[in-house]
C-alpha cells in the first residue's frame, strides 16, 4: 500500500501529511511533484493543505491546471482513494471532483483552532473506524472554508449520505455545517479540517488518526 502526497508550488501541509502517514501510521508514502503525470503506483492520493499557487484569484483555482490533476482525475475514476484536506478540498471542488465551492469565512477572518466534528456517516472508506454520531476534535486553519452549493446539490449530498463530517460549532458559515463531503462513488473525500495535525501524541491530540486508520483498513480490504 502506498500513499502519495501532491506538492504544488506553495503547498505547505505536504510535510505534515507525509509524516502523519510515514511516522504515525507506519505506511509507505512519497511526495508527488505537481508536474508528474504518472501516479498509477499509488493507492491513495493526498492533496494537502496550503496555498497552492498563492491561492490567488480563488483558493485552489490555479492548481486545477496542473498536470498532476489530470492524473488525479483518472485515479479517482478508477475508484481509488483521494483525500483533499483544506486547500486540497478547495482544489477538488475547483477541479469538479466534488460539488459546490468554498468561499470566504462568514466573519471574513482566517480561523485557526480546534473544531469538534460530528461523524455523520461512518460507512465509508474514510470513516469506518468511527461511530455514527461520534465527535472528534480536529484542527482547523483556513480563511475560505465556507462551503456553499445549490439547494438541490445539498439535498442530494444529504440523501446520499455524502456529508461525512459536520461542525458542532459552525464558525465559517458552511451550509448544513458541512466540514467534509465525499463524491457519489464514495472514493473522494474533501474536508477543511486537518486530520494530519491530530496524529502525533506530542501535539496532544490523536483524533485524526481514525480517518487514516479507516482508509488503511479499507485499502487492506478489511473495512
Amino acid at each position: 500500500m502506498k500513499f502519495g502526497v501532491i506538492v504544488f508550488p506553495a503547498s505547505n501541509c505536504d510535510l505534515d501529511s507525509y509524516y502523519a502517514i510515514k511516522d504515525m501510521m507506519g505506511e509507505k508514502v512519497e511526495y508527488i511533484w505537481h508536474e508528474e503525470e504518472k501516479i498509477e503506483e499509488y493507492d491513495c492520493i493526498i492533496i494537502p493543505g496550503g496555498f497552492s499557487y498563492g491561492d490567488y484569484l480563488r483558493c485552489g483555482a490555479v492548481a486545477q491546471f496542473s498536470k498532476v490533476m489530470d492524473a488525479v482525475k483518472a485515479h479517482a475514476e478508477k475508484g481509488k482513494l483521494v483525500i483533499g484536506i483544506c486547500n486540497g478540498f478547495q482544489i477538488l471542488t475547483e477541479a469538479g471532483l466534488l460539488p459546490g465551492a468554498l468561499v470566504r469565512n462568514r466573519d471574513l477572518k482566517f480561523i485557526c483552532g480546534t473544531a469538534p466534528l460530528r461523524v455523520e456517516n461512518s460507512d465509508t472508506a474514510f470513516t469506518n473506524k468511527l461511530q455514527p454520531g461520534e465527535v472528534i476534535e480536529i484542527p482547523v486553519a483556513h480563511g475560505e472554508g465556507n462551503y456553499v452549493a445549490q439547494d438541490e446539490v445539498l439535498q442530494k449530498l444529504k440523501d446520499n449520505g455524502q456529508i461525512l463530517l459536520t461542525y458542532q460549532e459552525n464558525k465559517n458559515g458552511s451550509k448544513e455545517d458541512i466540514a467534509g463531503i465525499i463524491n457519489e462513488q464514495g472514493n473522494v473525500l474533501g474536508m477543511m479540517p486537518h486530520p494530519e495535525r491530530a496524529c502525533d501524541p506530542i501535539l496532544g491530540n490523536t483524533d485524526g488518526r481514525k480517518i487514516f486508520e479507516s482508509m488503511i483498513s479499507y485499502l487492506k480490504g478489511g473495512r
Binding site: L57, V62, F65, E94, A101, V103, R104, D107, G173
Partner: protein
C-alpha cells in the same frame, strides 16, 4: 488590446464581505445603503487579434479560471 472582465457572485450566493461593508457604511452614518455586493474586476492586456478571436479566448479563460461558474457569473467588454 484591453479587456475588462467583471466577475460577480450569483444572486443566490450570499456575500459576507458585501454585507460587512454595508454594515460598516451604515455604522459610519451613511443612510440608505440598501445593499453592497463585491465582485472582481480583471483587466487583461492581450496581444492584438480579431475581435471574435479575442472573445473566444476570453470566454474560455473565464470558464476555466477567471470565474468559478458554480458560484459566479461574468461579463466582459473589449475597451
Amino acid at each position: 488590446m484591453k479587456i475588462k472582465v467583471y466577475v460577480t457572485l450569483k444572486d443566490s450566493i450570499s456575500d459576507p464581505q458585501g454585507t460587512a461593508i454595508q454594515g460598516a457604511l451604515t455604522k459610519k452614518g451613511y443612510e440608505g445603503v440598501k445593499s453592497v455586493r463585491i465582485g472582481k474586476l480583471i483587466e487583461l492586456e492581450l496581444s492584438d487579434r480579431p475581435e471574435a478571436e479575442a472573445k473566444q479566448a476570453v470566454e474560455e479563460m473565464c470558464e476555466k479560471l477567471l470565474a468559478n461558474t458554480v458560484i459566479e457569473k461574468y461579463t466582459y467588454e473589449i475597451v
